[in-house]
Symmetry: C2
Subunit: 241 residues, 2 copies
Amino acid sequence: MQYLKIKDEILLQIEAGSLFTSGQKLTSGQKLMSERKLAESFNTTRVTLREALSLLESEGKVYRENRRGWFISPAPLRYDPTNTTNFHNLALSQQRIPKTELINAGMVPADKHIAQLLQIAPQTEVIRIHRVRYLDERPVVLVTHYVLPDRLPHLLSHDLSASLTDIYQQHYDILYQQTHYRIRSSSLVADTAAALRATSGCAAMYIERVNYDQHGQLLDCDLEYWRHDAVIIEARAIRQL
Amino acid sequence: MQYLKIKDEILLQIEAGSLFTSGQKLTSGQKLMSERKLAESFNTTRVTLREALSLLESEGKVYRENRRGWFISPAPLRYDPTNTTNFHNLALSQQRIPKTELINAGMVPADKHIAQLLQIAPQTEVIRIHRVRYLDERPVVLVTHYVLPDRLPHLLSHDLSASLTDIYQQHYDILYQQTHYRIRSSSLVADTAAALRATSGCAAMYIERVNYDQHGQLLDCDLEYWRHDAVIIEARAIRQL
DNA sequence: CAGTGGTCTAGACCACGCG
DNA sequence: GCGTGGTCTAGACCACTGT
């Protein structure tokens, strides 16, 4: 099991500050040396070296950007799906620099899955908003919102790179209150992967939420694909006895 | 991108019921043909075939047991960390056959991480219980409980393959009430992997909980390593406004 | 344009599961 | 003991990144 030894060795050298392309010692976001150089330095082939790196990747220690190389993973964002704090403030409160990029937004017919989540008939027109969110210039999550247009008329005329929570509150007097969420391990494919500069098959954390307002009315749902090393869910709950 | 095509092709053939070792058509837990046969049937090499299978594995469609082969993933268990239902009843309510195996139990000094979770000094003696849980004969999660011995005296004298929740309630009049949980994507290594018949580096869902009783007193914590395709978190939450 | 990562080939050996 | 999965080698070509 050569790749296990190589994996541990890489970890050590990362902590020691070697292995970097540049001479810097920052342990976050730094790029590693090229695979060929790493393979040579461990006296092995690229295949075995990539095995070791993939292991580190699955442990959340390093990550890959498609065709750009391997990087040290920054600390994950602590994310509480039961809290109303928006992404922007959440990131800032953890000393991270947030950015939201609007990919596109418009009306689409709800597919079967979305229709079920929003409790509407399939093919009903809903608002769909695709956004990518960044932490410190790294794309970490692809978020797709599906919004009931009856509840939020003219939503598309607002600045959708801002927080939806804020728009709801300021322009519609609507607050998120109850939420129903699902979390599972998944992977990024095709477009989803590309949006996060990842390769197909990259491990991901999938979070799906259905949100209700302060009157218990269904508002929207959102589907989030996180780079798996970029987030850790953290919540408190009082159990129903 | 041959492996993407092979991946899709395998999915199709699985749904059609081919590719199995036996002639059966059950889509759950079935073993696939050997890698060499699969590689030959797709006219490729084992390396590329394994690339395709790994992709399916990361999508939760198939899983591997160490040196035993590839199997179709059963539907995941829906798991609500805010609910008190024990594993046994949860599984039964979803038409699954549960089994709990006690690996070992005893007193150990708390390491730094456990001490922090339980709010005690490092090296304090606590009860540690290692258990593996099965669904339909498949090991799906390795659970380690760390219990404060002051709160649960003589706990080790009970049958620890039963539900801890039940033991707490029946013998100590203690109920789980509040819980603080963390969820992140992780991977299985060495012993942890072996306990679930997985290989080192296998993707996992890591769940960490700190549990409090009906009086708000800290009781125990538990660390759970799930096979990532075997579980989906599902919870409702009222947000604090 | 040079170098890199992504992908693929065609083998090989070994330890282990299973019959 | 046979076949299997786990691991590893030594190459190769191509598309893309970064300069």
